[in-house]
Structures are given as structure tokens and as C-alpha cells.
């Protein structure tokens, strides 16, 4: 705490002058269940990406061959900000997302 800015160095009124600075805060510390995407079952419906309340489903563009099919997107999870709420797993129509207990 002693290396944090002093009162006289902080913007007044607790204003945060830098937009998007929250991204630097890793907020996944309380996750107990971790969503894991099984890409072979994923049909790229985008529902997990849409429903995630924290915006932690990352859509990646590229060429991905899975089980003989070719997709132009792939979904990954930003584990720095995912809180493990499980909404993605609940919404996934093909049960491609599995909630796995975090290592103790």
C-alpha cells in the first residue's frame, strides 16, 4: 500500500480520468468454477459471447478446421475477468461449455 499514490497525487473527487483503465484490474479472483470450451462441440452460434455479463468471451477470427468443418471464428475465454458465473454454460445449446472446478 505504501507504493500507491498519495492523496495529493490523485485526481480530486475520485474521478478516473483514463477510460477503460478497469481492464488492468484482474477481477477473476473469486471464481470457483471455470468454463472450458470444447471446440469440437461448438457450432459458433455466438450465444455465449452475447450472454456473458462481463464480456469475457473473446471472438477470434481466422480459419479453423474442426471435425471436417471449416469455421471463420473461434471462441476463447478471458480468464483474467471471467467470474465463473456459468451463464455461458447454461445458455450453450450444444453443451460445449463445461464448468470445471478451479484447482484449490
Amino acid at each position: 500500500m505504501s507504493n500507491l499514490p498519495r492523496a495529493s497525487e490523485l485526481p480530486i473527487g475520485a474521478v478516473i480520468p483514463e477510460p477503460g483503465s478497469t481492464r488492468r484490474n484482474k477481477t477473476a479472483g473469486w471464481r470457483t468454477l471455470k468454463p472450458v470450451i470444447h471446440d469440437d462441440r461448438c457450432v459458433r452460434c455466438q450465444l455465449c459471447w452475447l450472454y456473458c455479463p462481463e464480456g469475457t468471451i473473446v471472438e477470434i477470427k481466422g480459419v479453423f478446421k474442426v471435425n471436417g468443418r471449416t469455421y471463420d471464428t473461434k471462441y476463447e475465454i478471458n480468464y483474467d475477468h471471467c467470474k465463473g458465473c456459468g451463464i455461458c454454460a447454461n445458455e450453450c445449446p450444444t453443451k460445449a461449455i463445461e464448468m470445471v472446478p478451479e484447482a484449490p
Binding site: 492523496a7 495529493s8 485526481p11 473527487g13 475520485a14
Partner: protein, 408 residues
């Protein structure tokens, strides 16, 4: 309605070319004086919700806006909580704002008092003080203002319609320099509804006195910032410390702005006003119009009867003018603090008494000092009552609490 009089030489040699050359005097209530000051200050956004005895301020302001005399956005809201919320938002966006309330309205808006000062918004609010429920009283005491005294606002308690006018203008300059909200309180009805001659300034000159300083942060889509975020235990304390420091530093600023205003417009008050204190043995310390006026009359009466009496009026209540107050009371043998509010269950029930006692204790001053409670719910404070305070100080100088004017 306006009475324009030529410069009558009343300010001869007092300021030269900086002074305004004509004297414009209107017969105004304290509340109308507030409205005129807001108009002169070129306020952008006003949020209004009616409550007695504040209503006639915003009534007059509505008239100014409707007539095109004041180019402001007037927002009609559904409560005082919303009124203060609306000006918090407008002020955050960079507007110069005004609102006013009394009594239960101030209580309802209370959480926003902390938010306004916490975000460091230069809001100016007029508070014609009124007693709190229950039982319901629409009349004047300072129960409402005293509940707001620890919210981080600059608080003036003024004593006449003229002073309401002058102080609201000063308050904008102070608030916008310190980035703190400021409250201008005065006696509900006794000042808010009493008609007095009020000297008005040239509005162009007021606008020059109130330049719009660059605010450190405003809500602006081109430069996005976050206001009012969550602060975890590693951060919260620093922002509260900032506020405490800013309010301490505002003490000098309030004095400087008052002096500057005096140079420019010919009227200034200081942070502590004294009456016949030069050689006084006994003093009444108080605030607001009625208590000060009657105490002055009582001091005159006491002096005619051989008691060297004086009066001290605390005009700036927050930040507390410790050094000026101690200086004013330096020569007295004993004094009374006349409070028009009750702090239930306190070691002494008078809120100003407690501040004065703390100030003296911290500076090693120990004098007989009586806490007098009077004027609760606008119980009439007679000049005779005040005179009795002086005789009491002379005959049995004690440290005690006296509930005066009540049927015990």
C-alpha cells in the same frame, strides 16, 4: 419597480474606477435577494421542488427564466432528493447550477450532500432554515442546517437580505475555486420573507467577478472520465482526506473572496462579524439574522445599564473560523453561545457551543461559557431574554446549558 439613483458619493474615494457607478436598490425579501443573486451569477441549470419557506426563491427564478431574463434550464423534479441529484449531474457536466431547499427537503436530499462534496462539485444551494418534524413546524430554527454541517459543504449562515445577495455571489466564486459545494443558509421567514432594501450589483460586473474557471474534470463524451466510482479500502481514505484538506484550505479562500468582493462592490462581512466587542467583558456568540439583531439590541441595552456587552456572529460555519473566533473572544471574561438548534444527547446541546468549546480547548483557552438554546421552532427571542444572558454572565459565570424561552 427598479429605482435607479445617481452615485451619491457614499463610496467616494473607496475604490476608484473599479467601483460600479450607479446604485440600484430594490425592496426584496431574503428569498428574492437569493433569486436576484442567482440571476446575476448567470446560472445555467436550476432544479426546483417547492418547500416552505424556500419556495419563493425558485418561484422568482421561474419568473426570470420565463421572461427570458435568465438563460437557464429550469428542471421541475419530483422531490428534493431529485433536485440535488439533478444539479449534481448538471454540475458534473460543467454547468453552473443552483438549487434551494429547507427542513425535510434538506433531510431527504441528505445523501446527495455527501455525493456532491465527494465528487467535488461547485454547487451552490440556498437554505432558508426551518425546524424539523415531528411535530411539524414550518417556522425557523437551524435544526436542518446543523444536520448538514458535517457533509463537506462550505456553509455560510447569513443575517440579512443584502447579505444573502452578496453571499450567493461570493459562494459561486469560492465553490468554483475550491471545487467544493457551498450552502448559504439564513433564517426561514425572519430573513427569507422579510422585505429589506437590497443594493444590487451591475450584472456585467458580477459576471466579471465570476469567470468560469476551467474545471478539472467534467462529463464530456470527447474526454470520457468516470465519476463516483467504487473505492476499495486502499483508496477511499485518500479521497476523504483530500476533502478534509480542501475544506480547511477554503477558510482563507472565503476570506479572500469576501475582501475582493468588498473592493469591487463595496460590501464585505468577514467570516466572523463583531458588534461592540472592542472593550466587551461579556459576549453573546450566535448566527443568523434574528438572533444577531436582537443580541445587538440587547448589547446596547446592557451597555446603557453599565455592562460592557458585545456580540459575535459566526458567518462562516464550515470550515469553522477558529482563529477569527478566538481572536474575537480574546478579551471577554465570560460568554454565551446562543444556538437555535438542539443536538440531542450531546454533552452540551448547542451545536455552535460545541464547536466553540472544541476550538478553545484545542488552543488552551478556558473561560466560563454558557450554552443557551433559544428560538426553537421560531419561539420568539425577546431582546429582554438576550439582556438576561448578559446579566447571567456577569452575576454567575458558569459552564452550563440553559434552555431559554421554554415552559419547562
Amino acid at each position: 419597480m427598479c429605482e435607479r439613483m445617481p452615485h451619491q458619493g457614499y463610496r467616494d474615494g473607496a475604490g476608484g474606477s473599479m467601483m460600479q457607478k450607479t446604485k440600484l436598490v430594490e425592496a426584496l425579501t431574503g428569498n428574492y435577494a437569493a433569486a436576484y443573486a442567482v440571476k446575476a451569477s448567470d446560472v445555467d441549470v436550476i432544479a426546483v421542488y417547492p418547500i416552505t419557506p424556500q419556495t419563493t426563491i425558485v418561484e422568482k427564478l421561474s419568473e426570470f427564466v420565463a421572461n427570458g431574463e435568465l438563460n437557464a434550464e429550469l428542471i421541475h423534479v419530483e422531490s428534493e432528493h431529485s433536485a440535488l441529484s439533478a444539479v449534481v449531474g448538471a454540475s458534473a457536466a460543467g454547468a453552473r447550477v443552483f438549487t434551494a431547499t429547507s427542513s425535510q427537503g434538506l433531510e431527504l436530499a441528505h445523501e446527495n450532500l455527501h455525493i456532491a462534496s465527494g465528487i467535488r462539485l461547485p454547487i451552490v444551494m440556498a437554505v432558508p432554515a426551518r425546524a424539523l418534524s415531528a411535530p411539524i413546524s414550518i417556522h425557523n430554527d437551524y435544526g436542518d442546517v446543523m444536520n448538514a454541517r458535517d457533509t463537506g459543504w462550505i456553509i455560510y449562515i447569513v443575517a440579512s437580505a443584502q447579505e444573502v445577495y452578496d453571499t450567493i455571489i461570493q459562494a459561486y466564486r469560492v465553490a468554483e475555486t475550491a471545487n467544493l459545494p457551498a450552502m448559504v443558509a439564513y433564517d426561514g421567514f425572519l430573513v427569507s420573507h422579510t422585505v429589506e432594501p437590497v443594493e444590487l450589483n451591475d450584472e456585467e460586473e458580477v459576471r466579471k467577478f465570476l469567470p468560469r474557471p476551467q474545471r478539472p474534470y467534467t462529463l464530456n463524451p470527447k474526454r470520457p472520465v468516470t465519476m463516483g466510482p467504487l473505492a476499495s479500502p486502499d483508496w477511499y481514505y485518500e479521497f476523504k482526506y483530500q476533502q478534509a484538506t480542501a475544506l480547511r484550505e477554503a477558510y482563507k479562500l472565503v476570506k479572500d473572496v469576501d475582501a475582493l468582493y468588498g473592493e469591487k462592490f463595496g460590501r464585505s462581512y468577514g467570516v466572523v462579524e463583531t458588534y461592540r466587542m472592542e472593550d466587551a467583558d461579556y459576549a453573546v456568540v450566535t448566527y443568523g439574522g434574528a438572533a444577531y439583531g436582537n443580541a445587538k439590541a440587547a448589547a446596547d441595552m446592557a451597555r446603557e445599564r453599565g455592562i460592557a456587552a458585545g456580540v459575535v456572529r459566526v458567518r462562516l460555519y464550515r470550515p469553522f473560523p477558529t482563529m477569527d473566533l478566538l481572536k474575537a473572544l480574546e478579551g471577554v471574561k465570560a460568554f454565551a453561545v446562543l444556538d437555535r438548534a438542539i443536538m440531542f444527547g450531546s454533552p452540551a446541546e448547542g451545536p455552535l457551543y460545541k464547536d466553540v468549546a472544541t476550538a478553545m480547548f484545542m488552543h488552551g483557552v478556558d473561560k466560563p461559557a454558557v450554552s443557551v438554546i433559544h428560538g426553537i421552532g421560531q419561539r420568539t427571542m425577546y431582546v429582554e431574554d438576550m439582556y438576561k444572558i448578559y446579566t447571567m454572565l456577569k452575576e454567575r459565570p458558569n459552564k452550563e446549558v440553559v434552555f431559554m424561552g421554554v415552559r419547562p
